[in-house]
Every structure is written in structure tokens, then in C-alpha cells.
Symmetry: C2
Subunit: 394 residues, 2 copies
């Protein structure tokens, strides 16, 4: 379903897999401590979610209010959507201009609202919600939050809105396989069974095989950081649809591992776009980056050019060019001593997206083991949240 090629990582010799980390992972999984992952084996919850979203399917538009982990997984999934309506709008910011523009376009009678905040305390989401309510956007509202008293749940109760439980043992950035990812995905007509199936296959390979992809990936990344000074991790899919997946990865990686002075800085790039924006820096700037290219099989896809106006394009497709550019960038990075990992997928679809997201979740967790970090907290941002509340009160 996907392949990981580490030949371009310039390790000289293969790293021996740290089996003890894999065993720790398996033990934690077996003890039920990795709830975000075990979700992928479920099916019944989906049936229930399908029922919950039914009233929304008649709408022209659905707004998804939420930020960070409450938004990015859903956006990564929705990027695969081919349906016309309802059209989903992910509102993950509090720019008054964005909302003003949005309100001009929406009909409150044909717009639904899904509000997601694990803690139920996220000030951005609460402010979005109150603003939408004042504009009459409350025809149908669904709330997702933890099963405990919090401002969002209280508000939902006062308005008689249905409320789904955000699993307490699943942090936002690991929530893509839970209700948090599933509701937007189902609203967008995404095949969530295939998504979970792709993820489940990758999970199983990490429970069963001795050299699974994420273990090797985690070790290579740390080796390159610690021994070769590669302090940035550039994720560069050659697919417009994987752009939000790359942003999802950036949150997952940054928040899980950026602590105690450790962690590498994730950078989302996009092929071929960033060949015309960042590649000069990548090749000839500071050699501080580790690259991961995501390579779907593009050859032959798209319209075959019949015109002879540009002779070299005759009988070629856009996909052929995409493929050639990808291969050229890969080779050029290697020739310029830039370590690069190549992750191949057949095509961009639910199954491969699920596989990639599971791979990177496990790679993040294994890296946290190797770095002796807690991959599931984010202690440093609490001070800023407190300050923001303080300034708002002024």
C-alpha cells in the first residue's frame, strides 16, 4: 500500500532496528494506552455517526468550527472529497474579515454547524460559535467535546444541541481516526472504512513485523538530527490533495516532539510548487534538512497531449511530467548531499491517506520513546492561553 525507500538517506550503513522500542510500543498498545490507534479496528461507531449526520446532508454548507487537532485531521480527509454538497468550511481562525466574507455568502437556513473542542474551553472556537449564533447560523448544530462539564457542553445543553463525546484518552492531534475526523469525513462523502482499513494495515505491520516503516523512519530521522545536524524535517508530497495532510503532520510532529529543547522543525512543502520556491535553498543553502517526498504513481494520468505545438510534450500527460519532476528532484537532492526518503503510494485515496497518517503517528510515538519525551502533552502553550484570557478581560 505504501513503500518507504531509505536509500537516499545517505547513512552509509543500515541502522539496526531498536526492537526494544517496538516492544515498548506493542506493550503500550496491548495495555490499551494508545487509544488513538486502536480506534481503527472499530466499525460500529461509524454506523452511529452516519445516523447523527443525517440531518446535515440536506444542507448547502456545513461549517466546522475548531482549531489545531480539532480541524487539521478533518481537513486532510476532506481534501479527498469529490462531492458537491454539503460544502464544508473549516474555520480554524478568528479573523473578523474571514467571517464577514463568509456571512455574506451563507444562507442560515441551509447551513449546519459542527463545533469541535476537546476541552470545551478553546476560546477561539467559543468566540466563533457565539458569533455564528448571533448571525442566526444555528439551524442544526452538532457539538463534539469531552464527556464532562465545560463551557461548550453547557452551552450545548442550554440550546438542546446533540453532543458527541470526544474520547478523553485521545488528544486532538491524534484524533483523526476518532469522531473528530469521522464526522467531517462522513459529511464530505469520504470512504471512512477504507481510510481506517489503510491505517489498520500499517498498525498491524507494526504489531507483527520486525522492521516496520515507522521504526526505521524514527531511527533515521534521529540519526540524521543527532549525527548530521538535520534539524528540519521537510515533508513534500507531490499531490495537491495531500497539502492538508502535510499541515496535519506539522502539528503532530511539532507539538508531540518540540519540548525540552528537543524535536526537529517540520516544514510542509508541495511538489512541484516548491521546486520554484524553496528548492534553491534546499540544494545550496544550509545543509540542515531531512526530506521526505510522498510519491503517488502519476505516470499516464491526465489528458494525453495531441497537439504538436511543443514537440517534447506530444503523447505525454500532465502526470508524466509530475512524475519526471518528482524523480528529478529526488535525484538532485541526492546529488547535492541532501538526505531524502521516498514514500511511494499507488494513488491518493482514503486507504493510502489512512496508511500515511498511521505511519506518521507511530513514527512520532517511537521518536518520543527514543528521545525520552511525552508525545501526548503540550505544556509550553498553557502560559500563552492564560495570558490571552487575561488580556481579553482588559
Amino acid at each position: 500500500m505504501f513503500t518507504q525507500n531509505l536509500e537516499g538517506c545517505q547513512l552509509e550503513e543500515k541502522l539496526s532496528p531498536k526492537i526494544e522500542m517496538l516492544e515498548r510500543f506493542r506493550k503500550a498498545y496491548g495495555a490499551g494506552e494508545l487509544a488513538p490507534l486502536s480506534l481503527v479496528e472499530q466499525r460500529e461507531d461509524i454506523i452511529a455517526f452516519q445516523k447523527v449526520i443525517e440531518p446535515f446532508l440536506k444542507f448547502e454548507d456545513v461549517l466546522i468550527l475548531g482549531t489545531g487537532g480539532s480541524s487539521l485531521g478533518g481537513q486532510a480527509l476532506y481534501a479527498l472529497s469529490a462531492q458537491e454538497k454539503p460544502h464544508l468550511h473549516f474555520l480554524d481562525n478568528i479573523d473578523p474579515h474571514t467571517f464577514e466574507k463568509l456571512f455574506m455568502d451563507l444562507n442560515p437556513k441551509t447551513t449546519g454547524l459542527v463545533v469541535i473542542s476537546k476541552s470545551g474551553l478553546t476560546v477561539e472556537t467559543l468566540m466563533q460559535l457565539l458569533t455564528c449564533m448571533q448571525r442566526g447560523l444555528m439551524e442544526e448544530v452538532l457539538v463534539i467535546t469531552e464527556p464532562q462539564e465545560n463551557p461548550l457542553r453547557k452551552l450545548a445543553k442550554s440550546q438542546n444541541w446533540p453532543c458527541l463525546d470526544h474520547p478523553p484518552d485521545v488528544g486532538g492531534r491524534y484524533a483523526c481516526f476518532s469522531v473528530v475526523g469521522m464526522i467531517p469525513a462522513l459529511l464530505g462523502g469520504i470512504d471512512v472504512f477504507a481510510f481506517r482499513k489503510g491505517a489498520a494495515e500499517v498498525l498491524r505491520s507494526h504489531l507483527e513485523n520486525s522492521e516496520p516503516t515507522a521504526l526505521l523512519g524514527a531511527q533515521v530521522g534521529l540519526f540524521l538530527k543527532n549525527k548530521r545536524g538535520k534539524s528540519l524535517s521537510v515533508l513534500m508530497p507531490y499531490s495537491d490533495q495531500l497539502h492538508f495532510f502535510a499541515l496535519w503532520y506539522c502539528q503532530l510532529w511539532a507539538e508531540s516532539l518540540g519540548k525540552n529543547g528537543k524535536g526537529t522543525t517540520p516544514v510542509a512543502a508541495l511538489g512541484t510548487v516548491d521546486q520554484h520556491s524553496q528548492l534553491q535553498l534546499y540544494l545550496d543553502g544550509p545543509k540542515d534538512k531531512f526530506f521526505t517526498l510522498i510519491a503517488p504513481q502519476w505516470a499516464g494520468k491526465g489528458d494525453r497531449i495531441t497537439s504538436t505545438l511543443i514537440p517534447e510534450f506530444v503523447h505525454k500527460t500532465m502526470g508524466d511530467l509530475f512524475s519526471a519532476e518528482l524523480r528529478a528532484t529526488y535525484e538532485t537532492l541526492i546529488r547535492n548531499q541532501c538526505p531524502v526518503r521516498l514514500m511511494g503510494i499507488d494513488e491518493v485515496n482514503e486507504k493510502s491517506l489512512g496508511a500515511l497518517m498511521m505511519h506518521f503517528m507511530i513514527e512520532t510515538i517511537l521518536t518520543s520513546y527514543l528521545e525520552d519525551l511525552n508525545a501526548f502533552d503540550q505544556p509550553a502553550v498553557e502560559e500563552g492561553k492564560r495570558l490571552a484570557r487575561e488580556y481579553l478581560a482588559l
Copy 2:
């Protein structure tokens, strides 16, 4: 029009301005060597451009084909657009899926095409164009390319399409004030006179004042890189509309300065979104970043909350919260020893965008002087381009 506050940069003492670099800049400008900048004093070209785009104004959609410098400046400008139609689509990639989806939605009879490639050789743009032609999207086509024989110009001639000259002495990433930025901006109903006016004021301050913003910015950035190991430059506007501006900056900075092992890696962030995605890493991960926050005056903007459902929000607006979050992030970065520059603007509009873009263009050029680099070439990417053509021929 905009302010630059360097107090959070933690320099201990003020750096003395390197006046000789400013003089070199002024001499180059006076000798006509900085053509991208002097464009902002012109007005007559706009009148001509307005005439050229007239046939496009009747359309529902206009596709802008181009990549990198042929796209990002226009996208930064179009992000300010408030008009309904024509709706602009910037196509800067060659993902067959994106095009297939696009073709499903477009009516060839009500769609115009603007094709931008300085060299006229950009394979992505040529492939996009041929594919669009085969789909019958050639009701009205406008080409922007250098005034010399090249595949794109030949193609335009063979089809009798109007062709505007891309100024040969203006590189793509510096082209936002030229025809390359102006045509999409005019199509999007942007006030290009205000845009150039904002830029012209900043330019003039660099020709006249002894401590202009870009000189101080360039010196601070280099000091932090060389003396404090800050190898990443994070640009974080608190405005959805400035997202593409941040991507434009990333190209400008990366391609101009990422050479000979020098340069810092630009990262586009977005407030408040990335407070929920990257801030944990920024505050407690490796201390390798220099931050620039772009701060519009948001207080009081947006609907005033009247509901008492969440007591702390009563009488507050979304803009008040945006402001409080910005201030909190700024303070938190400082408390965590992260050097941060604060750039204040009144509001996000054409004038302030022009000012910011001019500031960063001059900051880039002055940094190139200080680093002894050529800010206008991009030698390292040529090999990849050659390889891509080679692989395409296979």
C-alpha cells in the same frame, strides 16, 4: 503606515546601522539596477493594463497559469479581493486530479486564461496551457513573457493571442509590482494604485532616512543567525488574508539568499492557527528561530457579542480576541527567550500590503549585500530542470 518594533529581539544593545550598505543600495537604485523597485513610481502602465484586461471582465472565471514568482505575488494581492467575478484560479501545479476537478466546474465559454512565464520555457506552465487548450479553454488568452523568441511566445503568435512583455530585468520573485502582479490584481478588482503607493512610501524612506526598517531588519536577522544560531525565520501574520503574502515571502527569501551554504530557512506561520499547531515547538523546542509577527489593528473589529452564555465574551468582538491572542503570543515568546519582531499595520489593505512587500524586498537585497550573495539568481535549480526534461523524454 507600518511600524517595526525590535525590542523583543533580545539584542542587549542596538546594532549600529551599516550606512555603507544603504549607500550601495541607493547607488544601485540610482543607476537603474533595481528595476523591480522603481516600477512603483509608474502610473501610465496601469492605464494600459486596464485596457488589456477589459475582455476578461465579462467572464465568470479566469485561470492564471504560472508558478513560483509568476504566481505568488498575484495570489498575495488577490487575497484582498472582495469581488464576486471574475473568480480567479491560480494554477501553480501540475496535479492531474486538480485539473480534472477544475474542468468539471468550468464553462469554456465564460473562462479566460492568463499565462505567465518569464522565460517562456517553464514546462509546468506549458503543460497546463496545452491541457487547457485541448479542453477548449481558449476563449480569451493573454500571455506574459519576455520580449524574445521562446516556446510560449511562439505559441501565442501561432494562435494570435495578445502578448505582454515581462520586463527582462525583473526576476519572477521580484515581479509583484510589474505586469506580473498587476494583471491578476486588476482582474481581481484590487486597488493597484494604493498598492504601489504603499510600496513607494517605504522605498522613499529607504532612499532618504538613515535608519530605515529594512536595514535594521536585515542586520538584526543576520546578527541573530550568526551570533545566536537562529537559522529559521518564522513569518507569522495575524490575518488570513496575509497567508499568501507569507508564502510569497518564503519564496523571495529562500531563492534569493539560500546559496553558498548561507541563508536562513523561511517558515510561513499563521496566527492564531499555528498557536495550536507550532507554538509548543517554538517555545520549548530548539531555540533556532527568529520570529516576525505581523500585527494589524484588530481590536473592536467584528460583531460585538451580546449573549451572556459565556460571560467573559460579553461586549467583546472576534477582533478583540485576535488582538489579545497576538499580544499573548508576543509576550510568551519573549518570556521564553525567543527573539521576536513586531510589525504593526493599521489594517490589511492594498497600501499596507504594498508597504510590507517593499520592505521585505529591500530587506532581502540588503541581506544579500551583507552576506555577499547575488539576490537575483537561482543557480542550483537548473540541474533539476534539465533532469526533469531528460526524464520526460524517456
